[in-house]
Homo-oligomer: 324 residues x 2
Amino acid sequence: MIKVGIVGYGNLGKGVSLALKKAPDIECVGIFTRRDASSVNPLVDLKVYPTSCLNEFKNEIDVLILCGGSATDLPQTTAEYLRDFNTVDSFDTHAKIPEYKEKLNRVAKESGKLAGISIGWDPGLFSIARMLFGAVLPEGNDYTFWGKGVSQGHSDAIRRIPGVKGAIQYTIPKVEALDLVRSGKNPTLSAREKHLRECFVVANDGADKAFIEKTIKEMPNYFADYDTVVHFISEEELKEKHSKLAHGGFVLRSGNTNGDNSHLLELSLKLDSNPEFTGSVLLSYARAVAKMAKEGHSGVVTVFDVPIKYLSPKTEDELISTLL
Amino acid sequence: MIKVGIVGYGNLGKGVSLALKKAPDIECVGIFTRRDASSVNPLVDLKVYPTSCLNEFKNEIDVLILCGGSATDLPQTTAEYLRDFNTVDSFDTHAKIPEYKEKLNRVAKESGKLAGISIGWDPGLFSIARMLFGAVLPEGNDYTFWGKGVSQGHSDAIRRIPGVKGAIQYTIPKVEALDLVRSGKNPTLSAREKHLRECFVVANDGADKAFIEKTIKEMPNYFADYDTVVHFISEEELKEKHSKLAHGGFVLRSGNTNGDNSHLLELSLKLDSNPEFTGSVLLSYARAVAKMAKEGHSGVVTVFDVPIKYLSPKTEDELISTLL
């Protein structure tokens, strides 16, 4: 059995704990939290410890699954955990991955541990598609579309506008843009042409809705470069109809081999629950990191480095005879 | 520069030679053929040698790209080449892959060479999708659909019927079946429900068309289990409209994480030229095999074993900063 620990029990940690039920070869030692451990109610039967107790589990955990956020948690804490544990995380600030990797690499070199970083669906499965598609079809263009799904950062930005009581923002790929890419025309697409931003906003009583709508639509970086639709709804409707964490998207590559012989490669995901699916991906990479560490690997790996056979509980022979 | 040799110059060998133009880090030493070398006219500027000369190139070739067929060529010859060369091939008789791998493994253990086997899009990219999707979404069902594309074996079977002058058979995925899978209903689908078989047949003058059609539709294994449509056309039409080697297909996985939270993962390929795309995939895996062999790997690998970073001519840092 592979032994894991879950660090952090927000949406992602919950997703990982649910995924454990479908991993016959993985045993979870417990959930580790910085909150008061007695305040955490796991969705599955697991013990909860304060993170300060982690030291006592050094020899009992093969991989720590880090479920903190990318903004502050992971940049601050992963390096520390990596001194004593192999780790996996879903660090998703794309621009900062090289710096994050570099820092962890220095720690891993000293500790001899292995870190799997930036794992989930983007970065993660979508990165695999972009890399693989580009390698097997070198002449062509890549397109990534996200959604329909909630963008947490954009929702937060709306909530900070005076007069806004609650809000949620959906990123929606434009069908016309997707169709244009699928037609093989290799279009150049602006941000506005690729995605629509739809906002559902609850305003405070007496708030100036026209001002809120204008502020959203003109917000630089977040909304100004997009077609943005704003709906004002009631607090009840927000809770009732917009609490699902669905997401998904598309990676497409369109290109030519010879003359006008063109090819279209497409990966698409449609996810009812972003954190549950991401948790499931993270758990399968925890399995891979445990196996690779056992074989003597150390350092930092991304989805580009991990042979996919390690992700499955099945034997190599079984994989070859049933899935190859 | 990575140095490769192409063995066999049929459709697939031609595809590989065209793909070379888009591989800045790969140099092709030449094409090796069992035919009279002077009768081979390469599509790109390459030397042609008889396979009997391969011995002289032992130290000049990093990987031999084997472009023979799976029925007789590869099972007979790969083991021999593997005594002196690293190899890649597109062996695609799914049921015989374990036996083929076993045999090559014995040779590779002695020779210290590395063989990448069963590479293309199915087996190949579709296998990656099936394995990866199953690992990250353990509870669910897999579906592979092929087409629209020409099935060479089925076309040959029609051509063997008395009175048939020429024929081509397309395998076509049924839209209703695809939609049912995409709806997340996890249907159980028979062969007949998944694919339609459409045949374009040129009959000899005076041949009994009713007999030909009946013989096709009732042919066991090939057509009896499918809805089969037969069109009789002229020889000119066959040449004009049915000489493209387009193909493609879909791998889908639909499943649940928790309760009724379901997810749909889908890879689709739409290929204008099956051999050109397969050749391009094969060349990128030749690159990977060259790199892995240089790092000291030997034995037999499939797409499940190869970290995808090896497929690209780009550096790891470049891959991470642009594609992760």
